[in-house]
């Protein structure tokens, strides 16, 4: 009734099964790198796209591309011109660097960015956009000298990327949870801290939520206590660190 998959299918399903047993961040990274090598990908970066006010360097879930390359990339602010990134304005489906070259005429500066990648042992690569319904977006980008970019390989890498992204996020989250313990906020406290983070006063928040300013103040005070913070600025920072609110 159902056909037995080829090597791509088998490997990928096996990859997922083994990944589901891993909890340590380092083990997950190793597992992903080993799997990518089979496809001829020697490097990978996995990024959760930065929201407003967050530095690109803070959003890296995993990276094995050379340090000098990344430093240069950030210093030159390539991210706004890199055709492999700007292609995301056109599609949310996976694509390779060579697809981008074939799809449209690149400007000189765009070509220069791609060519620079070659100097760092990456002739071609894949960009796999990962969209969550909760509104965040990640990219999984393996690259190498002669990577396998066949249709089946792409289908396999899409699943590998999505699973790797989720596993890395969970491992990082677990790492933060094990740091200092904190009492979770109530939904109302969380909502109010979200407004505090945008710079609203207690009166303004009260108006928005149709409650009294004093009620808002008492929610903030409770949140401060739970977050072990004396001042509300620090409470906002703590709430962000613990993942209670987002920017």
């Amino acid at each position: 009734m159902s056909f037995q998959g080829d090597e791509y299918g088998k490997r990928t399903l096996d990859f997922v099964q083994r990944l589901q047993k891993l909890t340590s961040y380092d083990d997950i990274c190793r597992h992903v790198v080993t799997e990518l090598e089979w496809f001829g990908f020697t490097h990978v970066s996995s990024i959760s796209l930065p929201g407003p006010g967050r530095e690109a360097t803070q959003c890296i879930l995993m990276n094995t591309r050379p340090r000098e390359y990344i430093d240069r990339y950030i210093e030159k602010n390539y991210v706004v011109r890199d055709p492999v990134v700007t292609e995301l304005r056109r599609t949310v489906n996976p694509y390779s660097w060579s697809d981008v070259r074939a799809r449209r005429d690149l400007s000189k500066s765009e070509k220069a960015i791609l060519d620079e990648g070659r100097e760092f042992a990456a002739r071609d690569g894949l960009t796999i956009p990962i969209v969550n319904l909760s509104g965040s977006m990640s990219l999984f980008c393996p690259c190498g000298l002669e990577p396998n970019l066949s249709e089946r390989a792409r289908a396999a890498l899409e699943i590998i990327g999505i699973y790797a992204d989720q596993a890395l996020k969970r491992a990082i989250l677990q790492g933060h949870r094990e740091e200092p313990a904190h009492t979770p906020l109530t939904p109302r406290e969380r909502e109010i801290m979200q407004w505090v983070a945008t710079g609203k006063t207690d009166e303004e928040i009260g108006d928005i939520l149709s409650i009294g300013a004093t009620t808002v103040t008492s929610h903030v005070e409770n949140a401060k206590q739970k977050l072990d913070a004396f001042r509300r600025t620090y409470a906002v920072v703590q709430a962000l660190r613990f993942g209670e609110i987002t920017l």
Binding site: F3, G5, S48, S134, I162, Q166
Partner: protein
């Protein structure tokens, strides 16, 4: 509130079912452009049998704002009937302890991120509770590959049954894209994951806070 009805209850509760069929028409036929059998603005197919189980998420005014349908895979399986090529593991698609879910819809009155999460968890949680009580082994379904990340967000125990394949689409046949088959083990762990998801557990994305590049990537992997 989520209510559970079987296909046999259709005559006793025409109102809920009518709302459900209209909602399906709106979501799958009008918005997604799937070529499905429909009449009078309602979408009803061959899997709407007496054995099918429906989970309806009702708002305060008793309006259906979310729903999911499951059916025993032995008699009703879209996967086995139309998409057997999606399964590359050789796993059996029809078994008494495997149910298949289809026509999953969540449209809460308020559409904030948290409300969507809570609504998803309500419908899927109710379905899992029912399946646990029935001592089922797996729930299987066909999804659009693009949505895999959202299923993984619900529970990391989501198991792929194969790689993604193109379906439908093209000129004069709207809809279409890439789809794949997945399944969930029916276990208390998965139910816990889904509840935690709905209860606004801290989001992993909020934590992607590394101080410097590659600092956390094991050093031997850095070239």
């Amino acid at each position: 509130m989520v209510i559970v009805l079987t296909g046999r209850d259709r005559r006793k509760n025409p109102d809920y079912f009518d709302q459900h069929f209209r909602l399906r028409h709106e979501v799958f036929v009008r918005r997604r452009g799937w070529a499905l059998p429909c009449a009078n603005g309602r979408e009803i197919d061959q899997y709407d049998t007496d054995e099918a189980i429906y989970f309806f998420d009702l708002n305060q005014d008793n309006i259906v704002r979310g729903s999911i349908r499951i059916a025993p895979s032995e008699t009703c399986s879209l996967l086995a009937d139309y998409f057997p090529h999606l399964v590359e593991t050789g796993d059996p698609l029809r078994a008494p302890d495997i149910y298949e879910c289809t026509r999953y819809i969540v449209m809460p009155d308020r559409k904030s991120r948290d409300d969507n999460r809570a609504a998803k968890a309500r419908v899927i949680g109710a379905m899992l509770e029912w399946c646990l009580r029935k001592k089922l082994a797996f729930l299987q379904t066909v999804i659009e590959t693009k949505t895999l990340a959202s299923y993984l967000e619900l529970t990391p125990l989501t198991i792929p049954l194969g790689l993604s394949h193109p379906y439908g689409g093209g000129r004069r046949a709207p809809g279409g894209g890439e789809c794949m088959a997945i399944r969930w083990p029916v276990s208390p762990q998965v139910l816990d994951d889904v509840r935690a998801y709905g209860a606004h557990e801290p989001r992993a994305e909020a934590f992607a806070g590394f101080d410097s590049i590659g600092r956390h990537t094991p050093s031997e992997l850095l070239h």
